[in-house]
Symmetry: C2
Subunit: 432 residues, 2 copies
Amino acid sequence: MKSYSLGNLNEDDLNRLCRRPKLDFESVFSQVRPILNEVKEHGDRSVRKFTKEFDGVDPNPVAVTPEHFNSDLDVKQQRAIDLAMKNVHRFHREQTQPGLEVETVPGIKCMQTTRPIERVGLYIPGGTAPLPSTAIMLGVPALTAGCKTIILATPPDKDGNIPTSIAYIAKKIGVEKIVRAGGAQAIAAMAYGTDSVPKVDKILGPGNQYVTAAKMLLQNSDAMISIDLPAGPSEVLVIADSKANPEFVAVDLLSQAEHGPDSQVVLAALNGFDVETMTQALESQLKKLPRASTARKALENSFILQVETMEQAISFSNRYAPEHLILNCDEASSYTDLIQNAGSVFLGAWTPESLGDYASGTNHTLPTYGYARMFSGVNLQSFQKSITFQQATPEGLKHLGPTVEILAGIEGLEAHGKAVSLRLQALKKVEG
Amino acid sequence: MKSYSLGNLNEDDLNRLCRRPKLDFESVFSQVRPILNEVKEHGDRSVRKFTKEFDGVDPNPVAVTPEHFNSDLDVKQQRAIDLAMKNVHRFHREQTQPGLEVETVPGIKCMQTTRPIERVGLYIPGGTAPLPSTAIMLGVPALTAGCKTIILATPPDKDGNIPTSIAYIAKKIGVEKIVRAGGAQAIAAMAYGTDSVPKVDKILGPGNQYVTAAKMLLQNSDAMISIDLPAGPSEVLVIADSKANPEFVAVDLLSQAEHGPDSQVVLAALNGFDVETMTQALESQLKKLPRASTARKALENSFILQVETMEQAISFSNRYAPEHLILNCDEASSYTDLIQNAGSVFLGAWTPESLGDYASGTNHTLPTYGYARMFSGVNLQSFQKSITFQQATPEGLKHLGPTVEILAGIEGLEAHGKAVSLRLQALKKVEG
């Protein structure tokens, strides 16, 4: 891993370090666009065609009910999934916003309330291993929010089946249909709807660059969908002070690096942290790792930043805006107020990122690529929208009406003012 | 206005009625793309060029501080604006989410907290009249949320000035720079940043199709911004029962229709509502309206739907998902639970839409075009993101760790499991 000392870096250097590997949006868009258009036009037929081409299987029908799949897990795995689901449910249930009611002026009541988004599509990436954790992280909040129609899409295996663990979770959350496809074609099927795939209002979930590009293009299209967030490669920033155990830091860096060759791993090391022992631990742990070659590639893009103080480390982290931030330091929770931009934060020596990836209760679908500056991770509100209400009494209208008439006058919108004046006149008449 | 009877319509008819005029996204995108690219490359120089071309004025420098402009209002206007700002502040302040802390299992604490988005850009459309109300609706929540850098863009007049009312509001909310430009060039300047315009993280605000297209394209670009929502032409759905005053209904329809020729106006009339008197009132009010020709054009695309019950009316409204919904009926507040998809709702005879447009306290930047199915209107959270935190005690890790090890095993992510195992081993050692 490259190493820099904060004191030797200028503003430009810092910005360069914070820049992620350049994504060529336009070139991926141009590869994905024809797939979206074909699925829009030909529906299931195109989804089957592309799935045959990319995944070597022809799912027919494309979408089936969860009952179609085996969901028998061994007891240990079932218990682990059940506990993770319970924790995620607990934490997301507490995010329920109570209805709001405010009397802004006497006789004018303003309210805000939330409603579930009716139909949601959840994308669970496939690839080298099943990702039941993502099914939990998207499915549980969808169920908690009260979404009526939950569709789940994930790439099938050569027999058209999906992983047992995902089928188990899908049944538990009441998924209506499972789309046996991945990639841009799966996203398009849920966005436009096909004969077998119900159309959804919002699509959530991580995925490779084709999946992300499909979501981004479709949110700007006549499919009329929204998306959770633009997801890029996963990343972690670890802040380690002199008391941090080098073995723990090494394994936390590796547990990010093993995600993919494009993962970003950053270590901000305070004075006194034993970088040398950490580097040795990293090397010896790497040797035993099944995904060592993946992790090694990720580490090539990664770096260590030497800093003097926790404040400097967090200030750099706020600039970088990491998806995951680990504070492996003394009194970690005393620094939370300083953290401005991050997806999810892991406090102290005993809180590895994998706790949150799987089971603590927080969501693991988080903003990457610096998007933590303006996006939240997936949460209960990702599956809801809010509606405002207002109600005026005659007294309220008399109180606030003249203000509205003046403002409508400034904007030259006469009927807007008239909607008040006509009512005020009617009230005057009644009151004689 | 065309008129339909719900009983005579089938599913296809209903869907057709709910469909808004087709927006040709792709053709607007292709007009806007070159503007965005030019501003990205040449900054202020291009913004000036396009502003000269489209607005007939060369703003130099493009962005200036609010002090640059006259903001002396007459006392009446100032008081009206102050009261509107106060109400909007009151309602949005109450949307502040208290931090969340949940112990999901003993020793595992999960937290969620919000942070302001640091730099936001607010777009205030120009055109036929100043729109101070939009400056209030975007500026007040930005200030309430604690955004550090607030940039406001609005088209200048021929002398490079902006409306006094907007300058007044900009000073009150502490706007850092006012971008004297409108259209796609203004959006691009805020998204990429220029010599005079600070780069922002999120862009909010309504606008014409070029502004909306620019926001949509830039949210998918290397500018790394997010947007509030895709905004289309304004719309209202009025539900009127037999007790509704036809004059009130007529003026409410007109106050939507006068917005623009592409405004959508829908009346769901219950049995007994006097449609004939309403139609006559509409005609006679129209004659006196300065923006009559605009309103008349909007009414051409609009329709009346005859329904039997409130439930039918609201069910249609949920399918239509209107930006504004007026329940001009008896016991209006008893129907709120049925409403699933709407931007903002106006309850009862004494609550015209213009109350919420200007001063009740709710936000008027709302989802149009059916996007109320999955988008909220602008609210305090539009200017914030949330961060999650978690902290495990050694006991918490011992409790939840084995679950994480099993789940990491299913996914084949060994280092994820190891991040737990190494720590559990260390704990065992210490405890001997």
